[in-house]
Symmetry: C2
Subunit: 697 residues, 2 copies
């Protein structure tokens, strides 16, 4: 009542301090007065598997703490469990500990009866504590029991079968985050582990591997030598993709929950620990130090991306399977859900995973990720390093067919579901090598002098690339780049349409802050798209009825507050909440790792705003943008494609704010679907609308 948090809380909500807090006074019972006494804990169903069987431990002549203190070995409650435990531990039937069912059968019967009654009353699996004082049973406490994800699923599905609960209630019973346990390998809970450092839990799952410090070694070790590796980097950049894709997991010293490493790892379904500042990485010596430990290249470590732990050596992991319970529950989830769930996918293989998790489309295809493929990066670099429009066009002519085949692959994989393609977003220097030797190689390849390349590379340098020459700003300076991308998209779409596919590409223009940017870029993109359609119709001698839409990211505060103007030129909105969070807070996701812990420790941020949407700040801008956007364009389609699309509380916000869909990493799709269903059950949109209407009056 007097601690600073409580005081602040009262201040905020104007709760008078003099009200005080309540105290319950209760008689005590004793389980340690002799051998006719006992104490124990029980679960009305198995908290590990969900099996419908009474489960728990007890101790004769003991008090509550003794059961959990680990001094004496507790005995199972049921005879069946006692026999099973003994069998597993190789103890003979005569030596095994007796069950409560055997020692005090009448009381056991009474206890299971009470447990069943409590379960029926609370309509959930109960975790109960009891004491037997001189042959009389006292119930100390009952509460809903904690359970594994698998148990949660089974219990929820079973209880619907038992008519204890209805389907929506079953849906509410699963914590969305818990599903991660079912989708990714986890550390074997029984295995020993020596944690040497802790970073941010950037991408869930667990993996062991031999440490490597650069992507080329990673590739060589995996492809040529068949090793399992973990890539350890100070930070990652798009140039590391080939190494990341072959690694079991990624560890970085810098970067937050939405750093490059984190985003890419989540997209790939790989575990990642980011922002592990304790790890002092030395690239020259091929080693990193944590406290007294020095980990050299080739040493084994294990990462737990769900906790952020870095562990010495190899720890066994458990790979889960998705059972019938999962499918049943996700079926109910999709029945009640009002928010659509799409996936962020850049290449056909991502799209395949997304479809397997029942994504309803692609909400974000980052075209630049295609640029890094080995067979095209040189053409991309040639384009960037060109001095003039003609030079860029020559290089683009090489890139267009490749991008076209990428888009074909994506469209084919998505079988008519909507696909939103974002035009080039990152600053061009991200594609250029930084080291002189790499520049020399490139110079030989593309026949431009090293000095000229070096000068051009230097001229592209930016102090704050996140706020630099990127997004639609590229499209304004170099229209030929966006035009080439539109050409590739529309050619792929026209071909597939003719082959019988249902297709309607959504072309997305990033980093718009002013309606004039969107008009300028949108105008020439439409012109280009129409040109491709007309040419295709002419070539094939058949009029192609190809629809497409051009929309924009809303990822800058200025775009949000002027959304009424922007909606005049954008046919859909997609909130890029990573960037919107960065600019609303003035906080770089790549650098915030350095001091975010100070914020969390001092209670200044309750959660990392890059992991969970800041509803009171960024959320206000989203609400304003939707309201103003739909004022101009009623029924405007609005989605979100930032990393928040896979965070349950952010998904709930998106539901309530009236978005049409969220889009997230393929591996987060089931989590987002569940979170969306829960939001729809808790806050049906019909009720939200009525409330909004009432507020306006």
């Amino acid at each position: 009542w007097q601690n600073p948090r409580a005081v602040t809380y009262r201040e905020m909500y104007a709760i008078p301090a003099k009200w005080g807090t309540a105290v319950t006074v209760q008689a005590m019972v004793f389980g340690n007065l002799g051998d006719d006494c006992a104490t124990g804990v029980g679960f009305s169903r198995d908290p590990a598997t969900g099996e419908r069987a009474f489960y728990g431990d007890f101790l004769v002549n003991a008090q509550g703490e003794d059961v959990v203190a680990g001094i004496r070995t507790p005995q199972p409650l049921s005879q069946k469990a006692a026999i099973e435990d003994a069998r597993q531990q190789g103890i003979s039937e005569s030596d095994r500990l007796p069950a409560l069912e055997e020692v005090m059968p009448a009381l056991y019967k009474q206890l299971t009866g009470i447990a069943a009654r409590l379960e029926k009353h609370y309509r959930d699996m109960q975790d109960i504590e009891f004491t037997i004082e001189r042959g009389r049973l006292f119930m100390l406490q009952t509460r809903n029991g904690k359970r594994t994800a698998a148990a949660a699923l089974r219990i929820a599905v079973d209880m619907v079968g038992e008519k204890l609960i209805k389907k929506p209630e079953a849906v509410l019973r699963i914590a969305p985050e818990q599903l991660d346990q079912l989708l990714h390998p986890t550390l074997d809970p029984k295995a020993k582990k020596q944690v040497i450092a802790k970073g941010l839990p950037a991408s869930p799952g667990a993996a062991s591997g031999q440490v490597v410090f650069d992507p080329d070694t990673a590739e060589k070790w995996v492809k040529d030598m068949g090793r399992k590796v973990l890539l350890v980097r100070i930070e990652t950049s798009p140039e590391d993709i080939h190494g990341m894709s072959v690694s079991e997991g990624i560890l970085t010293a810098r970067g937050g929950m939405t750093s490059h490493a984190a985003v890419v790892a989540r997209g790939m379904g790989k575990c990642c620990v980011s922002g592990c500042g304790q790890a002092k990485i030395n690239y020259e010596r091929h080693e990193f130090a944590v406290g007294n430990h020095t980990i050299k290249e080739g040493d084994w470590i294990t990462l737990d991306g769900s906790t952020g732990e870095v562990i010495l050596g190899q720890v066994p992991t458990v790979r889960p399977t998705l059972n019938q319970d999962f499918k049943t529950l996700m079926g109910w989830v999709d029945e009640v859900r009002q928010l659509k769930v799409r996936a962020n996918a850049d290449i056909p293989n991502d799209a395949k995973v997304a479809r397997e998790f029942n994504a309803e489309g692609i909400g974000l295809c980052r075209t630049e990720h295609m640029f890094f493929e080995a067979d095209r990066i040189d053409a991309v670099r040639e384009m960037i390093l060109a001095d003039n429009e003609q030079g860029r066009k020559t290089a683009l002519a090489k890139i267009i067919p490749m991008q076209k085949s990428d888009f074909r692959g994506l469209f084919e994989e998505m079988k008519g579901l909507p696909v939103t393609i974002r035009l080039l977003d990152p600053p061009l220097h991200e594609f250029i090598p930084h080291k002189d030797e790499e520049l020399r190689d490139l110079s030989a390849k593309i026949g431009v002098s090293f000095e000229r390349l070096k000068r051009r590379a230097e001229s592209l340098h930016e102090f704050n690339p996140m706020l630099g020459h990127r997004g639609c700003r590229l499209g304004i300076s170099f229209p030929e780049i966006y035009k080439a991308q539109v050409q590739a998209i529309m050619e792929a779409a026209c071909e597939l349409l003719q082959e019988g596919y249902k297709i309607e590409p959504e072309i997305m223009i990033p980093l718009v802050g002013h309606w004039k940017e969107l008009k300028f870029v949108g105008d020439y993109c439409r012109e280009e798209a129409d040109r491709v359609i007309a040419e295709f119709s002419k070539k094939t001698g058949k009029k192609i009825a190809m629809k497409y839409t051009i929309g924009t990211m809303i990822e800058l505060p200025r775009a949000a507050i002027t959304a009424n103007e922007i909606a005049r030129y954008g046919e859909f909105f997609s909130f890029g909440t990573n960037d919107l969070t960065q600019t609303t807070f003035g906080l770089s996701r790549d650098d915030s790792g350095m001091f975010l812990k100070d914020y969390l420790e001092n209670g200044i941020y309750e959660k990392d705003p890059f992991a969970s949407l800041d509803q009171s700040g960024v959320g206000q801008l989203i609400e304003v943008a939707i309201e103003r956007g739909r004022e101009t364009r009623p029924g405007l389609k609005v989605g979100i494609c930032g990393e928040h699309g896979g965070d349950p509380s952010s998904v709930e916000f998106c539901h309530s704010a009236g978005l049409d869909y969220v889009s997230c990493s393929p591996y987060r799709v089931p989590i987002a679907r569940l979170a969306a269903a829960q939001a729809a059950i808790r806050h049906p949109r019909s009720v939200l609308k009525a409330k909004a209407k009432a507020r306006k009056k």
Copy 2:
């Protein structure tokens, strides 16, 4: 009517295209039918000096174009001017050109009569065109005449004396930007100049000097060799300050209107041309190339910071003086002004300039600028490079007395006017040398190994420093730094209060985005301030009645939209519109120079948003913040301390938005005062309030 701009404009304002545009059909008169014909232009007062004398040129037997085409030499209108011209050009009285007054005396009399009547009618100096056809005078056109700043002042003041106009009208007659002509040296308009490049007009004034490429050479050449230099840098950083302060002007290849070079130069009242991308600077060779020209160290060039021109060689400049007209008009300005005008000043000398320009306080003292002084930078670096709080405290103990004496100087100079001091804002790596040799020097000085320094320096590196570990984030990670600054401020204030000064420091916490940041930092700052006051009272045996306020910058979108929460913990707001523009647009002022020209050329931005406040985007956030801030704290004092505080149209916005003051570079203070007065005349706050009230109903 059909050009794209007109079409877009009509679209925006729903003006039907079929309305068409008007055409005037007029009879023609001829001044070239013989020697009884003539044509000419005249000014009802001298447009160069403002003197009340009819002034102009004519040609006998000519049409309008002939006067301006320069083929024939036009003749003066008045006899007095004709005599004076001949005298100046050394032409004898008999050889000189005759005046209209002499050739056609009756028509001249008629013309002056008409000019006087037109001036009286339009109540402003008239620029007229006339033609005489066969002895008959026709007036072709009259309009308000363009004039120099000096003439504008004189005419406005004279016309009040002549009761032609009233004081407020006189105030409206001067374009605020024109005042720059009176406050800074300008190029002699008669001198020849060879412009070799053009950058951004980042800080007004003109100067010639010998080119140097690094601040140390600048200092040596000026201090030891008595030369005049111009500092040429790819970009400047706080480490260049000593070189900038001795240079006549600064030229940078990168950076926009609010880049470091631009801001510092304006603060120093020096000319600066920034973002001159055509200049290819080569530090190694000590030269820069522009087109075919190569300028070496020591070569003379001239900069015009009002136009952005870079000129070969030396061009003479003219230094203006502020005359009685200026003082008279600025007196009227201050009578009607409702917005206060403060100056941004970091050191006592800046404060002195600010006072000379009648600033009403200091709106922003950037304490970090004191950190770069030669006698303290090493202690600052020691503080930054310390591994722990104790190390930082030891170094801070050396810094506190120096900061205290800085603050004393400022307070003394401002003689009781309010002074707002911002606690440390930039990321710490700005204070650390980047080159290995400098790090080695530092290592020897402060006795910390080079390797450790290098490691620490690297660990401070940020990808996007503008969005990094800076502002109040430093105060959250390292409370001891802000506490030391508060101690220095309050000790200085207590001493001066006791010496009889009126003093009430305003302590400003930068980069707040969340109310919890402000509460956390504000709480310990108040504690520290109260501790100093209590100790001072105890030491002097006299209770010190020292008032102070703690407020915050509003420079992040999140701060603006949650201003109702932030106002609970901040006693004043100051809009940092540079940063607010950066984050609202997601646009780095240091990098935008690279592509801003594409935006301006394509009409996407009408003005550089760092030079003139973006009223429809950033302005909305300012209005929201004021409204919400004052909901929580009625009468909340609100100012602006970004570079926009000196931009006339931004000042008008600040007046209308209900700010209490603007704060700008000392040299912009007269401009801001004039702009504020004009805003008050055009939109009196009483009228604005009535309108707002009517809107609410």
